[in-house]
């Protein structure tokens, strides 16, 4: 009765686990179909703009935050509740099984899947039972002798492995949760040159994401500068090398390190990863009052040949001066940088990512840049709301500059293109759960191997005055059991020093 109840419980929970596993796989799919905020919020915004009808609905269904959505979390939490409910009792049962002696032999050994009843002994049942127990012990079975009945069991590795596997799974999830709670990361563009370094703080990251239990004060303290950067490309335009020299200062420790895509800068409390690269043109603007300002602004790559778009804003230009209509006379330039210009400039896309024949295509805007408004805006793109509202107006046509060239605007002011600096995009990360996840992963594989290769089986011998009966029971998928059982019976025969009876063929007899 309790056996029934147990098996029923196991059955139902295994079925539940299966359904939940299936749902987990199913629910993960939308995350690969729709853009995800956690990966690229811009892509989500673009999607929402392009699909004004379906977008908001999908958003309400959390289709853009699948892996933190209510429904996805519900499934994996249920699964892990089920997992705990499943493995904790099994852990207890297994602990008992490891301590306890193998169970009593069934009454009728000939009902077992493998059995033999053609064994004989020399008339001393006690000695025969001793010999059989010794034989099984020699084969590394755990042996229990009850009178003249011997129960033996082997292959505990399977259940041990299974439990290690499932607990490792729990550890893995714990590690991931720790990362979500106590980890953080920030991204940032760093331009080459001494003064363009940055120090880790929320103000200095272009974007950042802090774990639930992290606040700005918890970020690792260190500063990094990009001393030099080198990119190499194949003739096809495919990059073959990105190498950065970075200097860092953290906790009184300083150093210089080579950082590549697969070789991050690992500091005590955070790692700095090189994710991508681009060009930052240096521009000098001379305003109506004759004051000059020089800025270096990263342009963002639009394609693999590093056609880059960017914005150079001079909010302090012409300070105090206004346009005839009373708008301020701030100045900005936006446009494309082509490291290798095509024959027909009008194509507007670079041919090659290295600077073989660079061209900066700019257009000037004069007016109110809208920097004082409270709306968040990108420093990398023009504020098109201002343009639409006519607060900011284009001045003249687009013009192309080679490095060293300059262009004079209609109002007599001058813009010079001095050259470019390479920049790199870095991601700074701290994830205290990583090590737990790694250890969990290793244990998971070890447990899995044990679980898949272990074979639990039981062998029984019963010695009666008339002879010996043997039975065997594989308790898990084990094809070779019949052969092993056969062997054990053969060894038993030899050990009992008996003459084989006529009757051969152990199975169906």
């Amino acid at each position: 009765m309790s056996l029934l109840r147990n098996s029923w419980r196991q059955l139902t929970s295994m079925r539940t686990a299966l359904v939940l596993l299936f749902l987990l796989a199913l629910f993960a799919i939308p995350g690969s179909v729709f853009p995800q905020r956690s990966i690229g919020p811009e892509a989500v915004d673009r999607y929402l703009r392009d699909n004004p009808d379906t977008g908001p609905w999908l958003d309400r269904l959390q289709a853009f935050d699948v892996y933190s959505s209510v429904w996805f979390s519900a499934v994996y939490l249920l699964l892990f509740v089920s997992l705990v409910g499943c493995v904790v009792p099994r852990l207890k049962a297994h602990a008992v099984a490891l301590i306890r002696v193998p169970p009593e032999a069934p009454k009728r050994l000939d009902r077992l899947p493998a059995h033999a009843d053609d064994l004989d002994h020399d008339g001393d049942p006690e000695a025969a039972a001793d010999a059989l127990a010794a034989l099984l012990k020699g084969r590394r079975f755990r042996v229990a002798r009850r009178g003249r009945t011997i129960s033996a069991e082997k292959g505990y590795l399977k259940e041990t492995g299974n439990l290690v596997f499932h607990f490792a799974l729990l550890a893995l999830l714990g590690g991931m949760a720790a990362g979500g709670l106590y980890g953080w990361h920030g991204n940032r563009i760093v331009v080459t040159g001494d003064t363009n370094g940055f120090c880790s703080s929320t103000q200095q990251y272009d974007e950042y994401d802090l774990g639930t239990r992290v606040d700005a004060a918890d970020l690792a303290r260190f500063c990094v500068t990009l001393d030099s950067f080198r990119a190499e490309y194949l003739d096809s335009g495919q990059p073959s090398l990105y190498r950065a020299r970075m200097s860092y200062a953290a906790d009184g420790e300083r150093g210089t390190r080579t950082v590549e895509v697969n070789h991050p800068l690992r500091l005590a409390d955070a790692n700095v990863y090189l994710l991508g690269t681009g060009y930052a043109p240096t521009l000098r603007y001379t305003d109506r009052a004759g004051r000059t300002q020089t800025i270096t602004v990263p342009f963002l790559p639009q394609d693999n040949a590093l056609t880059s778009y960017g914005l150079a804003a001079f909010p302090d230009a012409n300070i105090g001066l206004t346009e005839p209509d009373g708008r301020p006379a701030q100045v900005a330039f936006d446009g494309l940088y082509l490291p290798t210009v095509p024959e027909n400039v009008a194509h507007g896309a670079s041919l090659f990512p290295a600077e073989r024949d660079p061209r900066l295509m700019l257009r000037a805007y004069i007016g109110d840049l809208g920097l004082d408004s409270f709306r968040p805006q990108s420093v990398y793109a023009l504020n098109f709301d201002q343009v639409e509202g006519k607060m900011l107006q284009a001045s003249g046509d687009q013009f192309a500059l080679k490095p060293g060239e300059s262009h004079t605007l209609a109002d007599g002011t001058k813009i010079e293109f001095l050259g470019t600096q390479p920049w790199i995009a870095v991601s700074v990360r701290h994830d205290p759960g990583e090590k737990v996840v790694l250890v969990g992963g290793i244990l998971l594989v070890i447990g899995l191997l044990g679980s898949l290769t272990g074979r639990r089986r039981r062998v029984f011998f019963r010695v009666t005055p008339d002879g010996v009966v043997a039975g065997g029971l594989p308790r898990s998928e084990y094809e070779g059991f019949a052969a092993e059982f056969e062997q054990i019976v053969e060894s038993a025969r030899a050990a009992l020093g008996e003459r084989t009876r006529e009757k051969a063929g152990s199975r169906d007899g």
């Binding site: 059955l11 295994m14 079925r15 686990a17 299966l18 596993l21 299936f22 987990l24 796989a25 993960a28 799919i29 995350g31 690969s32 179909v33 995800q36 956690s38 990966i39 699948v66 892996y67 899947p113 493998a114 991931m176 990361h185 194949l234 096809s236 495919q238 990059p239 073959s240 090398l241 990105y242 590549e260 895509v261 697969n262 070789h263 991050p264 790692n271 990863y273 994710l275 991601s427 990360r429 994830d431 990583e434 996840v437 790694l438 992963g441 998971l444 594989v445 899995l448 191997l449 898949l452 594989p474 998928e477 094809e479 070779g480 059991f481 019949a482 199975r507």
Partner: protein, 312 residues
Amino acid sequence: MAEVSDQLLVVTIMTYLAALVAYAAEYAFGSATRVSRVANRELVGPDGLAVVVDDEPAPVSPRDRYIGYAVLGLSVAATLAHAATLITRAVAAGRVPWGNMYEFLLALTLVGSVAWLVVLFARPAVRALGLLVTTVVIVLLGTSGMLHTDAGPLVPALNSYWLAIHVSAVATAGGVLLVGFVSAVLYLLRDGYENGRTGFPFALAAKAPAAATIERLTFRVHAFAFPILTVGIMCGAIWAEAAWGRYWGWDPKEVWSFITWVIYAGYLHARATPSIKRRTASWLAIAGWAAVVFNTYGVNLVFSGLHSYAGV
């Protein structure tokens, strides 16, 4: 060397096609040949334990024997040509030959072929699977040929020893799972056939080994491949940590490896649960393979993500 590799690919596909014809011939003529004879030697007892029936092999006609040799010879030759294609490619590119989708498929199918030969020699009983295995290999190789890219160095993100470890593990798992998939399909056909369904497609399994034999093979193959898949995915995560700063970020490739892994875990659970039919479990194995294929073709060609590199 790159051209040699490309020419070898053609040789490889032609040889596989020839092997396919040989398998088909053996299968078609083979009622009294090795196929069914060998198949009947390994029976399964009512309790699921294997019983080897040592009956005396019936004499084989010369024609059948030649077909049998052709099958083996062509399978091995095709696999060798396949390996040569991959090796020359590696020499031409000066690196491990699995840096893009074309090469990955080349490697995956090679593992599939080798895994199949191992199964073939270890268990002649399931020889009839060869027809299906070879078909799948040819289809994958043919489509990979269409995605052909020139041999060359790697993008910086791939320039890591983890490429050797992670991709080889995943390709190995994929190749072995290919055999598992075929085995699961044949089991379903054979099981239907044994249950009296003799129409198309079940009739295809008329001369296949006993359903229970195929099913056990399906499980063994998956039990072998699953830990490799697990290690492969975990190595990918370790690599992702070094390259992108996070071990898991739900990039489409990662999403689909997760789905694949969960489905195969589901298969193993279903297989271990007595109340769940072997047929249901086999469908899970097939779903797992569908996820593997989607992760290779669908994710590379449809979605964009960090894994989309260097001309697919």
